[in-house]
Each structure stands twice: as C-alpha cells, then as structure tokens.
C-alpha cells in the first residue's frame, strides 16, 4: 500500500514539475490577485469623495464640517449651484453631498431636531449605504456633544477593538487570502482525474492493483503541498504588502489551514471524478465554489443581513469558517479555544469530502 501510494505521489509530483507554466500560474497568480484585488475591493470611506454645501456659514455648521472631515471622507469642491441631482453624480467625481441647511445653528438651539441632508448616488447602493451610515454616525456623535449652551446628557466614547483606525484592509485582505486559497485548491484537483479520463490513462490505471484510496490520496498529496505553499505565499504577501499584523499564533493558523485546504482539494476531486470532460470540471468547480465563497462567507457582505435561506446555506460553506479563523488569528489574535466550532467543522467537512470522493470513485468505466 505504501509503495503503491508512493508511486502515485511521485508520478503526480512529476506531472506538476514537468508543467512549469501551470506551476508558475498556480504560485504567482494568487499573489498578483491579492495585490490587485485588495485595493480594488475595499470600500475605504476615508478616501470617499464627498462635498459639503454649507448654507448656514455659522460656527456650528463649521464645527459639523470639521467633525465630518476629521473622521472620514475626502472633502471636495462643492458644486456651485444645486443643478439637477442626477447630473451631479453622472461624472462620478463625488459619492455624496451633505447639505447643511440655513439657520442650522439657530435651529439647533430652538428645535429638537435639525435635519441635515445627504445626497448620494443610489446606483452604487453600497457606497451610498456606507456614506449615509457614516454621515449618520458623525451626526449622532455631534448631537451627543450637546447643543451650544447646554452640556451633553451623556459622553459617548466609541472603541473599535482590534482595529482602532478602522483600516478596511484588515477586513478585506484576510478574506481575499481565504477566497484565493479556496479557488486554487478546488481548481488544482478538479482536473486531476478527469484529465486522465480524457487521455485514457485512467482506464489503464483502473486495471491495476491501485485502490480508490490510493488513487485519491496520491492525487491529493502533491496538490496539498502546492496549496499550502500558496497559502504561505499569500500570507507572506499580505503581511509584507499590507502590514497585516499577525497577532495570534502563526503555527496555529498554518495548522488550521490544513483541514481547510484539504476540504477544497477533496471537493475538487469529487467534481473531477463526477464529470466527463475538463470543461465540465471547470464549470462545476468555478460555479460551485467561487459563488458561495464570494457571497456566503462574510468576505464582503455581512451574512447577518441576508435572507434566512441564504444564511442557512452559508452554514455549509467552509470558507465562512476559515474566514473566521484567519481573521480571528491574524487580526484579533485569538487562540484555538475561540475557534473550536470552526475547527471542528472544517475537520469534519474535509473528512466527509475525502470519504465521499473515495467511496464514490468508480472502479469501472461507463
């Protein structure tokens, strides 16, 4: 058994090493992806351009503007006239306009509530949501300071744990690292069996003493090494390029990466043994892993805000648990005791996937 397994392992390694182009793509592309994507995906409100139209020109309105610009946002030139709203956003130069009404200061004293208007470009609903959310946060903070002449009822302090500056890359980069690793792992093995099917070598292999276990493990092994190498590269890039702090234990993270990578390698093999052509394998694996991991893993979109069925579906997406782990260890610095459910799930998932791919491996043709 060991000898046969070793034979398959060595053969698979040879395939990988004999194909330097794929090797290069597999090792270099994730880095490039991380590099290009992290900045492109992150919704950094600090650099979001907004303009303020101050119709009051009072100390209070200036204080409000100071509050806005000191917290978030990049202030840009305000439009001179209130032209047609639609046309304002067409150019895409600003993402929001805050209008401070006339008599803002006077009304703050005399009225219980003074509305400040925020105009956003709704065609980009996410940025719009962010901008309104942030202006709202600033307004509330401003209100709680109390009106001029009267002290505030409470003093509110806000503390962001783990990431006091609200650096969005802290959120995006570990998430992307997990996503890229997912895709690499699945794609690596998704062709492993179907390629042999297409070239006819599987037929020859089947008529040999190799058992499904040996074939599957032999196929997983080399790609496991490759995927882990990818994981290390991605982590190293994240740390050096984005100054990601690794607050927790790096060895712990690497250990927890094992079941995660294994889960997707096994999934890839399962796909590979189920389809007839390489194109089908790619269709299924991209469709089956990219989509769930993009949207059901807390990568960008909060699962908690999604409809119930999608929330339930997200429970079986391994990426979701791995993002908990990678964000937990890297940014929060937590240890294994806080990641037990995630770890248990990943181990169970990868074990189940491996068993299914071995059990469902067809030892015959047709």
């Amino acid at each position: 058994m060991i000898q046969r397994l070793w034979a398959v392992l060595r053969k698979e390694f040879a395939h990988i090493l004999r194909d330097p182009r794929t090797l290069l793509v597999v090792l270099a592309m994730p880095l490039a992806q991380l590099l290009l994507m992290a900045n492109a995906v992150s919704l950094d409100v600090h650099s979001t351009p907004i303009a303020v139209v101050d119709l009051d020109h009072s100390p209070a309105s200036r204080a409000f503007i100071r509050e806005l610009s000191s917290s978030f946002f990049r202030m840009t030139e305000a439009p001179r006239t209130t032209v047609h709203l639609d046309r304002l956003f067409r150019g895409g130069a600003i993402d929001g306009i805050v209008v401070i009404p006339q008599h803002f200061e006077r009304d703050l004293v005399s009225r219980p509530a003074v509305p400040v208007q925020v105009l956003v470009d709704g065609s980009d609903a996410n940025t719009a949501t962010l901008v309104t959310g942030f202006v709202n946060a600033v307004a509330e903070r401003f209100s709680l300071r109390g009106a001029p002449g009267s002290g505030p009822p409470i003093a509110l302090t806000t503390r962001l744990l783990y990431n006091p500056e609200g650096n969005t890359l802290f959120f995006i980069v570990p998430g992307l690292a997990g996503l890229i690793l997912t895709l690499v792992s699945t794609l690596l093995t998704s062709l492993a069996l179907v390629r042999e099917k297409e070239s006819g070598t599987l037929e020859q292999i089947l008529v040999s003493p190799l058992s499904p276990l040996e074939i599957i493990l032999g196929k997983v092994g080399p790609y496991f090494v490759l995927a882990l190498a990818d994981g290390l590269l991605i982590l190293a890039a994240a740390v050096t390029l984005y100054q990601l702090p690794i607050r927790g234990s790096l060895p712990l993270l690497l250990v927890l990466m094992l079941p995660f990578v294994l889960a997707y390698l096994a999934l890839g093999l399962l796909i590979s043994s189920g389809v007839a052509t390489q194109t089908a394998a790619v269709l299924v694996s991209l469709g089956g892993t990219m989509l769930p991991n993009l949207i059901l893993s807390n990568l960008i979109f909060p699962i908690a805000s999604m409809p119930r069925p999608l929330q339930l579906a997200s429970l079986i997406v391994p990426g979701r648990y791995f993002l908990d782990i990678i964000r937990g260890v890297v940014i929060k610095g937590v240890g294994i005791s806080d990641l037990i459910p995630q770890t248990v799930f990943l181990c169970a998932f990868s074990a189940v996937m491996l068993v299914i791919s071995i059990k469902s491996f067809r030892e015959r043709l047709g």
Binding site: Q3, R4, W6, A7, V8, R10, K11, A14, H15, R18, D19, S199, G200, T201, E203, Q204, I205, L206, V207, S208, P209, L210, E363, R364, L365, G366
Partner: protein, 314 residues
C-alpha cells in the same frame, strides 16, 4: 489460482448501451457471448469497427460490468473477484494510455511500483523487457515523444512488467507502421511460446495468421470461431476473381448473374462466390471476361458469414 483451468472461461455475456442523445432505444453491443481461451494460445477477435470488440475486452478486463453472464478470468470470478483479475492480467486499452510527460523509464517504474515489484525485481524485469522492446536507448525520452510503434512497445512493456498470466490487448497494432506491426506480433508469439495466453483484437484480417484461433465478431455476435486455416477452409464456395475497372459499380450486375451466389468488391478486384467454377468461367469467357480461380481469404469468409447472419435474421 487454478493453474490447470482455461485462462478465460466466460459465458452468456451481454451488454447494451443507451444510444447517445438519451432516446429510449438501446444498442446491443454484445449479444450473449461465450469464450474460452486456453493457456498458451493467441486468440484474435476480428471484426470491423463497432463490432463490439472493445466492449468485450473491457468486460473481460473488469472495466465494464456485463448486463448478464459471467465466468472466470485466470480462475477468478469476473464480477466478484475483479480485484484479483486485475492483478492477474495485463490489459492494454485501444488508445495510448501512458503518461506522455513521463519518460520511458518513469512510466515503466510507475507500473512496476503499483504492481508491487521490489526494486531488484524491477531491475531484473527491466533487463528482460529491454531485450525485446529495444527501448534501451530511449529510456530518458518522454513517452509523448516516441513514435507510434515505440509507444505501443512501451505500453506492452508496462503491462508486462508484473508478469501477467493473461494479456488482453485492444487493437495494439492499429495506426502502427507495418514493420513495427510485424515486430509486435513476433513479441506476442514469443510470449505465447512461454505459455502466456493472449487475447487480442484487430481490424486487420491479415493479422489473423498470427493467431492460434480467431473469432469473427459482428454486431456483438460470433460469426465463427476456429483456427484461421480451418475457418478459411470452411468457405463453402469456389472463388472466381475478376480484375480491373470500377468494381463497386459492377458488384450488383454480377451478383445477379446465373451461378453467382454473391459478388463482393475488394478494391480493384471483384470476388464472385460460386458453386460451379468451371461453368461460371465458361459463361464469362463467352462475354469476353476473363476470371481466375482464387483462394478464399478470411475476408471472404467474413463477408459470407455476415450475409448468412443477415439472411438468418430476415
């Protein structure tokens, strides 16, 4: 393993496929089929493309399950003992099925290892195999860069590496140049002489002479099975050969000629099957056509048997 029993003893094998496109009708790939192959024989399965040769071989190699029927391969049950069958046989699929990105040596070593040969056993076996496959100078060449003939020899070497008790080869000489084909058959003859039975398919009728026994397969059913000479000898008619001209066009005209059982065009020759050769020769000579008496070949037998089978069905 039952040392004394036949290498292959199967009976009643049937296999049908659902036609591509998912329609309900099935294609019968193999009619109930029996086959016995004794040790030390080369048995050839001959038939045109689509006759069911590959299906039969894949069933015997345990790669396909028969719909019905069964038997033993090297003494192991075809269905339940498939693991043991796979260890005992050497099977070579029709398509080149080695790894093109591995070298000759690496391919051979890979198969040695998965069949559990020790390092020393592998080395000894290599010597033996290199003696006949002449691949010695090309050990480091990638399999993908070999010529067609060398690829087939390598494939054969890889399945011989574990010294199988039975060889099952699916069209090993298709697409190989004539010289390599002759060499290949020589190797198979040598194996037979050492007592290894060989079951081989081929679409080339002229290769039947290398077999101890042949089985003519058509539409999944056996037309005839015997030693090649005896099959040829069983041809019930005399043969008149007509040469020259567009024979395919004249096939129908001559078929309806008096005294001609059947007319078949082979390239630039027309074979006329008859019970009365002198009479036919005379009648044709009267028309100014010259025929020569010919010796029937396997092809003639095959065509005749196919016609017979068709008549029997109708």
């Amino acid at each position: 393993m039952a040392e004394e029993g036949p290498a292959i003893a199967v009976a009643g094998l049937t296999k049908s496929y659902v036609r591509a496109g998912g329609r309900a009708d099935e294609v019968r790939a193999l009619a109930p089929f029996d086959l016995t192959v004794a040790r030390g024989q080369i048995v050839g399965i001959l038939g045109p493309d689509g006759a069911g040769k590959s299906t039969l071989l894949r069933i015997l190699a345990t790669l396909l399950l028969p719909d019905r029927g069964g038997g033993t391969i090297c003494g192991h049950d075809l269905v339940t003992g498939y693991r043991r069958v796979r260890r005992a046989i050497g099977y070579m699929p029709q398509r080149f099925s080695l790894y093109p990105d591995l070298s000759v040596l690496e391919n051979m070593r890979f198969f040695a290892e998965i069949f559990g040969l020790s390092r020393t056993a592998f080395r000894a076996r290599m010597e033996e195999l290199l003696a006949f496959n002449m691949l010695g100078p090309f050990l480091d060449r990638r399999a993908g860069a070999l010529s067609g003939g060398m690829k087939q020899k390598l494939a054969l070497s890889c399945i011989l590496i574990h010294t199988p008790e039975l060889l099952i080869l699916d069209e090993p000489t298709t697409g190989v140049d004539p010289v390599s084909r002759a060499e290949f058959w020589e190797i198979l003859g040598g194996l037979r002489d050492r007592g290894v039975p060989v079951l081989v398919t081929t679409p080339y009728m002229d290769e039947a002479q290398h077999c101890d026994r042949i089985c003519l397969l058509h539409e999944g059913a056996r037309l005839a099975e015997d030693a090649p000479e005896r099959i040829v000898a069983s041809f019930p008619y005399s043969l008149a050969v007509l040469r020259g001209g567009d024979m395919l066009a004249r096939q129908a005209d001559f078929g309806s000629l008096e005294g001609v059982v059947r007319a078949v065009a082979f390239g630039d020759r027309l074979h006329l099957y008859t019970r009365d050769l002198p009479g036919l020769t005379r009648r044709l000579a009267e028309r100014g056509l010259e025929v020569t008496a010919g010796r029937p070949t396997l092809e003639d037998v095959f065509v005749e048997k196919m016609g017979e089978a068709a008549r029997a069905r109708a």
